[in-house]
Symmetry: C2
Subunit: 411 residues, 2 copies
């Protein structure tokens, strides 16, 4: 739980992903290399700890720490506060995010790969449980390597129905631990002709399946050839009312679409999870920005998860960039973190290690921020409904006012 300042090496060696090796996260790098009062000022801006707010950690039980040592995963726990209200009790929930690398090489038998990931996740989920986590989210397509870069259809074998093996595995744990679990998988929709979807299954704290959400926006960028495998989701923007609050899931590339974030907000989400798989060269500078903006603009909490490590595939592939064929997708940089509607955020988990990030959050903060900033009430949605209606017409003409001198010049 502590900063582990002494453990940050000041190596200047470049890692394979172009970053400097030997540091665990931006937060650790800065805490190890800045004097405390300067680190505090940097945190005021970077973590949004304004008005003298301190970064508050919460203690987790020794048994959780023991699991994190034994199974070598990062374990950090923080706390977001809300003001006390006179007419409502606090609604504090403890939320967990898990990031992980795959467990065995992609050359292993598919069944072994899946079972090995189950085995790897079990102690991390147990650590969440003994820490009292109420809602836990796993990473995107957690049962498999992120094989969509290959464009090989054999990886479709990892797809499962919503009530398949991985869901059953988690249902047992959800029931046992009285925990809501969000399970993002590659879904096989048998009732619709074996259609594949990128889906999050929402498992209630009694082990029941509350529902599912299918990824709304599918990337076509870099090695993210996901449009080869599945189509845009058809489940809208559902908010799931669970025992611990109203939650929604914005899967991966959906975080680049502020409208997607908005829609979960309009439907009343208090926590939006963003299970992702993304690599450093492509998206790392966006990672600390988009989730925080979604939390600010929509007055809800965001939990962002990215997988960890470099996955090497059996057959090399090209990346549409003119470079030679290669067999890996680049470095999944982890860095899972929470964002708050008050513009603050937690430090990120490691860029390199598996991890469990826990945060307490008082969901009352969502309404408090709405009352304070009034973004919903000042949003003028009618302007934008009208604009989108016009924009969707093929003959849409943008509102452009040209400098008449410009046309005089070119005439």
């Amino acid at each position: 739980m502590d900063e582990k300042n002494g453990q940050v090496e000041e190596s200047s060696k470049a890692c394979s992903d172009g970053s400097v090796c030997g540091y665990d996260s931006l937060h650790h790098l800065l805490s190890a290399n800045l004097k405390p009062h300067l680190f505090q000022e940097v945190n005021r801006i970077l973590l949004g700890l304004n008005c003298g707010k301190a970064l508050e950690t919460i203690s987790v039980p020794e048994s959780a720490k023991a699991l994190s040592s034994e199974h070598d995963f990062d374990l950090q726990a923080f706390c977001f506060h809300a003001d006390k209200e006179l007419l409502r009790e606090p609604r504090i929930v403890r939320v967990g995010l898990i990031q992980n690398s795959i467990a065995v090489p992609t050359t292993a038998h598919f069944l072994d790969q899946k079972r090995a990931i189950f085995g790897k996740l079990k102690p991390i989920i147990d650590a969440a449980a003994v820490s009292g986590v109420n809602i836990l989210c796993l990473q995107e397509a957690w049962t498999m390597p992120f094989a969509f870069c290959t464009r090989e259809k054999r990886w479709c074998e990892f797809a499962e129905p919503v009530d398949g093996e991985s869901t059953q595995f988690l249902q047992d744990l959800a029931r046992k631990h009285n925990m809501v679990i969000i399970s993002p998988i590659l879904e096989r929709d048998v009732n619709h002709g074996e259609t594949l979807w990128n889906t999050a299954v929402i498992i209630g704290n009694h082990g029941n399946i509350i529902g599912k959400h299918r990824k709304n926006h599918i990337p076509r960028v870099g090695d993210f050839n996901e449009s080869t495998y599945y189509m845009e989701g058809n489940t809208g923007h559902p908010v799931f009312e669970t025992a611990y609050g109203k939650i929604a899931v914005n899967i991966c590339y959906g975080r680049h679409h502020p409208l997607n974030s908005l829609a979960f907000g309009l439907n009343g989400a208090e926590i939006v999870f963003n299970p992702s798989a993304t690599v450093g060269e492509l998206s790392e500078p966006m990672w600390p920005i988009e989730a925080r903006n979604a939390a600010i603009a929509n007055s809800y909490f965001v939990g962002s998860i990215n997988r960890v490590g470099t996955e090497v595939f059996p057959n090399p592939f090209t990346s549409g960039d003119g470079k030679p064929q290669h067999a890996d997708f680049g470095h999944f940089y982890g860095s899972s973190y929470f964002s708050s509607p008050d513009a603050s955020c937690t430090p990120s988990l490691s860029r390199h290690r598996d991890g469990l990030l826990i945060s307490d959050m008082d969901l009352n903060l969502c309404r408090q921020i709405k009352d304070k900033w009034g973004f919903r009430m000042t949003a003028r949605y009618e302007l934008y409904g009208d604009l989108l209606d016009r924009y969707l017409k093929p003959d849409f003409e943008p509102q452009v006012i040209s400098d008449p001198m410009l046309h005089k010049k070119t005439a």
Copy 2:
């Protein structure tokens, strides 16, 4: 232009705004206190300098530097690159942002206050001109103190028609310097019964008025009592086609509304300016987030401007927070900066000093990023047009899926 590393004091004294005194910007604090290879890694994430990109400065003429020394304003200049294209020439424009404090106390005669600001801005605009700036944006309500905290109506005297004194002052400079100038003022609309607006006037490089945009979203938060003075704008989301590119203006609080940012994008903006006036205690943790997110999500450049310094008013006022009356609005923290659609950004100007920030930007980058990331094509606007249409109805019912166990429990 250089980093001025040696000038960053490591004071632990707390400033009146709660921050640590004695440093000029986050960038300067980090550059002065981190070893170079660590600073580079921090910049990779904070400034979005991925894939080995370096932070590139451009040189400005000695005459500009002389003006910045003589008139004591921060002067920094950077450069955003785009790939070379085979079928289009680069479209590099040089863009400038000015941030400044007021020039004389708010107790001075209004005419003296206005004239003093004109006099203060003249050498900064001249520095932009000799540096070859093509498009220059001033800060929100630049002709006056940001007096809306007071709720006193006498400050309305600062309002001017679109073709008023301040516009005429800038028209001369625009013509002389062949520069597009964006002039955010408090507008008095005489033709509509002396209506006031928060307006940006767009002055073409021939000194002509191209048009105006009126602030779309009006805050009701903290001391931002702007809704006491003017209403939500009625000019839509115009994009102005100038000699140097398609630009738009998202005035101040509009940056909290992703839909507002989206609308300028849908209308084809390549650069969106965000002239602002905002104080540290309220918004500083949001400042590095929202503009960058708008640039990423909408594939355009953003130029963010905030005024500088603490403005003290003649009569004390309360702030709706139960605290004693006081006569100042808090610290306007400057920190103006540019964001690029590729997720990179420049360092910010000073938190304390007047400043001119210049950046070259190849506008071809906007389309290149659209082609790469495909956010427009994957946006599914029809989903959101439909959602907004439904949301706008008073009987809108959010899409909520409740855990049936939950209702069993409470039944």
